[in-house]
Structures are given as structure tokens and as C-alpha cells.
């Protein structure tokens, strides 16, 4: 714990992330105003005591929208990371433990998904399934799978040649048990670091998809959707774009700083530069 706290970037990043996360969670039980409450006479208000961040083009409270939007961002990104970890890590471990045709297959599959730019994959999926927050999660999750598969395989390959793994094999453990007992615990730190980075990418991807109209749909809200709603009046009411925009920037920076800090703190080996993490 002490070792963790000695990394200032980790502390700053984690606490900033935590603040946003708490704001998002609070929105589930309380927002200053209901987010679907449209009140035309009070639209375009400047920040005031009643509306901390002002009101938008439909008279909705910006503070409430940012809170709810932050939650949407975290939720979408976290579930998408879970999909990536849940499918990608077993694939990567299998590739490292079995090798041969299994490894070849996993690598070709990840190459295949990597061959499409992530956002294109996301647009493809949301076009096929229709725009919604759930489809955005699926889309972002799918592009997380090869990332985690590669990180897991790369990390596991380094561990697989070590003596204690060989000892495990001599003791009669099969590939699956080797992967589960020896490889996985040793690559957990890699997965956590990569997870943090993918979280921030997921938040950006969700904002991007919602911005082009393929993610979250009204009356639900997300930071990307707020940007989209505000861009038409950007020249008249720039504030409405700045609020969600700066929120996205801060959340992503917080997560990235936290991710960098975690990498330094958890695994000193990585300071020598592990290509699998940097990739």
C-alpha cells in the first residue's frame, strides 16, 4: 500500500477517477433535477445557484445531465472492458499454454479484428443492430477482445518458460491448470493496467459513437450526446459544448494518469519497456 501511495500520479489519477465515478453513481439515486425534465422557459440559463452548470437548449439542468452522462460513460466503458477481459484473456492464455494451432488461430483472429479500425467496427455493429447504449457496449467490447488476448498471451509467454511452470508440468498439471494457477496470477497486473487504459479508450469511444448518433439515445443521456445536442449552437452558447467536452477530457486524463501510475507501481519490470503493454 505504501508502495502504491508513493506514486503521486497514481494517487492523483485514481482519486480524480474516483470523484467522477462517485458523481456518476450518485446520479443513479439523485440528480439536482430529473434529466428527462424539459422546461422550455428556463433554457439557455447561465450557471447560477439553482443550476450550477446552467441549462441546455431544452431547459434541462446541465449538472444533472453531466452526472447522468458520466455514469453512462463509466458503465459502457466498464462493461466493454469486462467483455474484453472475459473473452480476450482466456483466448490469450490458451494461445500461450497450448501453442501450435490454437495460438495460430487466436493470433489470426485478433489480427482479423485489429485489421478494422475500432470505430469502424463499432459503426458496423451499431448499424447492423440499431443505435443504442447496449449496442455501443457490444461494439466497444468486441474491439477490446483482441487487445486483451494479445496482452494476456504476451505476458503469459514470458512466464511460461520460467522454472516454476516447468515444475508444475512435471507435477502433472495440464495446460488449462497451468494457465489458471500459474500464468493468470502472474499477468494480473498487466491486465489491470491494460484495463484502465481500455476504460479511457472506451469512454472516448462511447462519446464518439453517441456524438455521431449511434450510441446512447434520448431521453437517456451521455457526454457524447450532450456534445451532439450542443454543437448546433456552439457559436451562440459555447458553454453547452465546453461542459461535456471538458468532462470527457478530465475523465480520460484521470484514467490515463491512473493507468500509468498503476503500471509503474505494480510491475517495476515494465519500466524496461514491455512491448506487449505499450502496444
Amino acid at each position: 500500500m505504501k508502495r502504491l501511495l508513493s506514486h503521486p500520479s497514481l494517487v492523483i489519477g485514481l482519486s480524480a477517477t474516483l470523484v467522477f465515478l462517485v458523481v456518476g453513481i450518485v446520479s443513479l439515486i439523485w440528480t439536482p433535477y430529473p434529466i428527462e425534465q424539459i422546461d422550455i422557459p428556463r433554457r439557455f440559463l447561465a450557471p447560477s445557484a439553482a443550476h450550477w452548470l446552467g441549462t441546455d437548449n431544452l431547459g434541462r439542468d446541465m449538472m444533472s445531465l453531466v452526472m447522468a452522462g458520466t455514469w453512462t460513460s463509466f458503465l459502457v466503458a466498464a462493461v466493454a472492458v469486462a467483455i474484453g477481459v472475459g473473452v480476450g484473456v482466456p483466448l490469450g492464455l490458451a494461445a500461450a499454454a497450448w501453442g501450435g494451432p490454437v495460438e495460430w488461430l487466436v493470433l489470426r483472429l485478433t489480427d482479423f479484428v485489429f485489421a478494422f479500425p475500432a470505430v469502424i467496427v463499432a459503426i458496423l455493429i451499431t448499424t447492423l443492430l440499431g443505435p443504442s447504449a447496449i449496442n455501443a457496449i457490444v461494439a466497444i467490447g468486441v474491439f477490446n477482445i483482441p487487445v486483451f488476448a494479445r496482452v494476456a498471451r504476451g505476458g503469459a509467454l514470458g512466464v511460461a518458460t520460467l522454472d516454476f511452470v516447468a515444475a508444475g508440468r512435471l507435477a502433472g498439471l495440464g495446460n488449462a491448470l497451468i494457465a489458471w494457477r500459474h500464468l493468470l496470477p502472474n499477468i494480473m497486473s498487466l491486465i489491470i493496467v491494460q484495463g484502465t487504459i481500455q476504460m479511457s479508450l472506451g469512454i472516448l469511444a462511447e462519446a464518439g459513437l453517441s456524438y455521431i448518433g449511434l450510441g446512447t439515445q434520448p431521453p437517456e443521456t451521455s457526454l457524447g450526446l450532450m456534445l451532439r445536442d450542443a454543437q448546433g449552437v456552439f457559436l451562440i452558447h459555447p458553454w453547452l459544448t465546453l461542459v461535456p467536452g471538458i468532462s470527457i477530457v478530465l475523465i480520460v486524463i484521470a484514467l490515463n494518469i491512473a493507468g500509468d501510475g498503476l503500471r509503474d507501481a505494480i510491475d517495476p519490470r515494465l519500466r524496461q519497456g514491455n512491448p506487449n503493454v505499450l502496444a
Binding site: N57, P131, Q217, P218, Q231, I236
Partner: protein
């Protein structure tokens, strides 16, 4: 650093040169429009976007509608109407050619109307021309139309985009390569980007000022704003009101606010449960706060309507008080109709600003009385297919932009499925009446029936809010018919 500066300087010099070149030839115009037409044949589609590009530019009818909504001679230089009002004889202009070089004569007129009236007609408004019983070619420049009953607005109907004259040689390709007799010939259509028209040299009428006109499709308000500010386009006939303030007071731009024939309605599928119940529709009418919708959607530029009828029309009667905004009355009516807890429905929204924004406001207003709306954003082609053609919808928001389109409500097969024999009889009488006072009386009665029946949610009349380069003149301020007529547009210094 030096290199960057040099490159920047070079780029600046280049842009200046290009701008200079453009200024030397002020006979081209680039117009931004929000919706790309699905095709370019106005006689085979209901989309306004088609007329915006081709009406009176590429295609012309026997008569044309001017910017005051009056009928002017078009391809017919004159006409006579028989005493009984059933026979129209048109004298056609001589020396008119289609853009492919073929000659225009009475046979083309006959072909056009035979095509509209044929069994497999794809015309969006066959009903306007359905009273025509015979089309006879008297000589190459004279054509006679016989009707089976008097039609009060027949000449106006002949001036609509639905009745423009097409040639048998080219009619089948008009959807992609429109060939008409108008002052502008079609050059190219870069799908998803723009349509280019060029002045047609051998045009029969008064020569137009412009040599070239491009319609650039820009669906997004912010992009349109930037394109206008950067000078990438010279104007747009209908700019989103939310950002209009950017151009008001800017001397480089001219903001033209006028009327349109666009009644924006919350279109309701009258054949579907629970909307087949009058009480439910009345409850919905009571739940709508028009002023909030107008302020939120159009920044106050719309005019509230209580029936599908244009407020600047002389036959208009103000029926906005029929079902005033009253959430309590709405809840009571819902309970009476058997929905004490409200119900859920879907609201399909086409990709136009007024629909997407008012949809959110209406969803919030309906939620207050217990009606839960799920908003579904659809693309334009999908809207035309699912909602308009296949009638697969609960509610949708759309502006009906045709002039005097109250007759749509007399068509039980129209997409919102309103079937009222009394109303149909009334419209038939109205169409057959030529006496002005009597027509007005009937039109008021028709509006009253539609208001009382709350067929659709009547929201507001769209305003036309054009933003143009201040050096351009000749644009229509009002839009009495769907179209963006280039005829009089020209640059001034």
C-alpha cells in the same frame, strides 16, 4: 519554423487567388440544403427535397406558381376554360426543347398525364389529376383536358411539381438523370454530396442570371453554419432556427424570414390501437403545449396551428383553442378511454431538426400525463419506406409542406389512416366548388372537423428562415409551394 511560415504564406496566397477567381465570376451559386433527395423525379416521389432541387429549375409544368402562390403561364402561354368549367384548352409555347434536344409538344403533355393517371402510376398525388377524363392533342401546340367535375384549384394543381412535363424518351431515367424543359439542365449528382445544375442555353423563356447552381447536402446545423461563415456555400433556403442568431445582424448575410406551407404535425396512426380511440387523440391534443414546442424547436419562429391549414391562407380559421394545453383534462380523457395509467408508444423521428427536437419535448410533455414514448431516430429513406409507404408506426413528426394539402385527410389510404366519409364528402364538395365565399365556408368546416377529431397532433406552421450571402438577391422569401426556384437569383455588387 521558417518553412512552416512560408508554407502558410503560400497557402494564404493560394486561397486569396482562388477567392479572387471566384469573385470575378459571380454567376454561380452554391446552396446548402439539409436533406438529400432520394431521387430526382418530382412526378414519382413525395419528398420535398426532390422539388427543392428540380422544381421550376429542371422541370416545368403547363403553369407555374410564383412566389405569391399565384398561377402564372408556364409551358402553356395561354389557356381557356369552358363555360361549364370542365374543359381546359392550353396553347403551348413554340420552340421549347428538352435538355436532351428533343422537341416539346402536345404529345409530351399527353404522355405526362397518361403516365400520372395510368394504373401503375407512381405519382405521389394522382388524386389531384384523377378528375381528368380525357387528354386530347388538338395540334402540336394545343392540348385539351376534360374533367368529370369542376375542380376549384385545378390550375394550381397543374403548377405543382407532381405535374411537371416529362418526355417519353427520358421519363424512365428522370429519377437519376432528370431531363426537363427548365432553365437549368442537370449535370451531375454526386450521391451524398451535391447536385450540379447548369443554365440551359437554348431555354425558351427569359434567360436566367446564373450559369451554374450546386445544391450541397449538409444535414448538420453546425456544419451548415461553418459552411456559410467560411463561404463554402452562398446560402440556404431553410436554416435551423437554433443557430439563426449567428447570422442576424451580420452585414455579410441576409436572413429572410417568411412563411411556408409546412404544417408540422405529430402524425398519428389512426388505424392502430390506441390511437383509433377519439378520446386518446383528444387526450394527446390536451397534453401538447404548443408554445413550449415552438419556442424549444424553432426559437419562436413557428405559428401555432389547431388544424392542418396554413395561417396565411385566406380560408384559415384559428382552431388552436379546440383542445387547449391541459394535462389534467388529458389524464381524465385517458382514464375515460380505459388507460388510467397511460400507455407506451413509439415515436419515429426523421432526420430533420424540428422533428428530433420537438420529439424530445413532446415525449416529456406526454410523460407528464402518463404516455411513455420511445424515441426512434430513423433516416430519411427509412422514414419514407416504413412510415409513409408501409404505415408501420405509432407516431411520427413531420411537416406537410404541400400547399392546400387538407385533401390528404380525405384519402383513407394515406399513411395516417384517417377514414371519415363525412369529411371525404365535404372535400369532394369543396373541390367541386368554384364560388369563393362558398369555398371558404367549406374549408372552414373541413378544418373544424379535423380539429375536433384530433386526427393528428397539430403543432405549428414552419417558418422559412433563409440565410443568404448579402450580395445575392431574387430568392423567395415565402415558400408557397415546395421548391427553391433559381430563376430570379443573381449576384449584385
Amino acid at each position: 519554423m521558417d518553412k512552416t511560415l512560408k508554407a502558410f504564406g503560400l497557402a494564404l496566397a493560394l486561397t486569396t487567388a482562388i477567392a479572387g477567381a471566384a469573385m470575378a465570376q459571380p454567376t454561380e451559386v452554391r446552396i446548402g440544403v439539409a436533406l438529400e433527395p432520394p431521387a430526382l423525379d418530382p412526378t414519382a416521389g413525395a419528398a420535398e427535397a426532390i422539388d427543392i432541387v428540380v422544381y421550376q429549375n429542371v422541370f416545368e409544368g403547363l403553369v407555374r406558381i410564383d412566389q405569391n402562390g399565384a398561377v402564372q403561364p408556364g409551358l402553356a402561354e395561354s389557356w381557356t376554360i369552358s363555360e361549364d368549367g370542365l374543359t381546359y384548352t392550353f396553347k403551348l409555347h413554340d420552340g421549347v426543347t428538352f435538355h436532351d434536344g428533343t422537341t416539346f409538344d402536345a404529345e409530351d403533355v399527353k404522355f405526362t398525364f397518361d403516365r400520372i393517371l395510368s394504373e401503375d402510376s407512381v405519382n405521389a398525388h394522382r388524386e389531384f389529376y384523377e378528375p381528368i377524363t380525357s387528354i386530347s392533342v388538338i395540334d402540336p401546340l394545343t392540348i385539351e383536358l376534360k374533367l368529370d367535375r369542376q375542380i376549384g384549384r385545378f390550375l394550381f394543381d397543374l403548377g405543382r411539381g407532381d405535374a411537371v412535363i416529362v418526355a417519353p424518351e427520358s421519363a424512365d431515367n428522370n429519377a437519376n438523370e432528370p431531363i426537363g424543359t427548365g432553365p437549368f439542365a442537370f449535370v451531375q449528382w454526386d450521391k451524398g454530396s451535391r447536385v450540379v445544375l447548369e443554365a440551359y442555353g437554348p431555354y425558351w423563356g427569359e434567360p436566367v442570371h446564373l450559369t451554374k447552381a450546386s445544391y450541397v447536402f449538409i444535414g448538420d446545423t453546425a456544419t451548415m453554419t461553418n459552411a456559410l461563415l467560411a463561404g463554402d456555400i452562398d446560402g440556404t433556403n431553410n436554416f435551423s432556427t437554433e443557430a439563426l442568431a449567428v447570422f442576424e445582424g451580420n452585414p455579410q448575410f441576409n436572413v429572410l424570414v417568411g412563411t411556408t406551407e409546412g404544417e408540422t404535425i405529430l402524425s398519428t396512426n389512426n388505424k392502430r390501437e390506441p390511437f383509433d380511440n377519439l378520446k386518446v387523440r383528444q387526450a394527446m391534443a390536451h397534453a401538447l403545449d404548443r408554445q413550449a414546442i415552438i419556442d424549444g424547436t424553432t426559437n419562436g419562429y413557428g405559428v401555432p396551428i389547431g388544424a392542418p391549414f396554413a395561417p396565411h391562407n385566406p380560408y384559415y380559421v384559428d382552431l388552436t383553442g379546440t383542445y387547449p394545453y391541459d394535462p389534467d383534462a388529458a389524464r381524465a380523457l385517458l382514464a375515460e378511454a380505459g388507460y388510467p395509467d397511460g400507455f407506451s408508444a413509439t415515436l419515429k423521428l426523421p432526420p430533420v431538426g424540428y422533428a428530433r427536437t420537438s420529439g424530445q419535448i413532446i415525449a416529456s410533455q406526454f410523460a407528464a400525463v402518463g404516455i411513455k414514448l420511445q424515441l426512434i431516430n430513423v433516416e430519411w429513406a427509412q422514414w419514407l419506406e416504413d412510415v409513409y409507404a408501409n404505415k408501420d408506426f405509432d407516431l411520427t413528426i413531420i411537416s406537410h409542406v404541400e400547399p392546400f394539402d387538407i385533401g390528404n385527410y380525405a384519402n383513407p389510404d394515406y399513411y395516417f389512416g384517417y377514414d371519415n366519409p363525412d369529411f371525404q364528402a365535404l372535400i369532394t364538395t369543396l373541390n367541386g366548388t368554384t364560388d369563393e365565399a362558398k369555398r371558404k365556408e367549406l374549408a372552414i368546416e373541413a378544418q373544424t372537423i379535423l380539429a375536433n377529431d384530433a386526427v393528428n397532433g397539430y403543432l405549428f406552421e414552419l417558418a422559412q428562415t433563409g440565410v443568404w450571402n448579402a450580395k445575392l438577391t431574387g430568392m423567395w422569401q415565402n415558400s408557397p409551394i415546395e421548391g427553391l426556384v433559381l430563376r430570379d437569383i443573381h449576384w449584385t455588387e
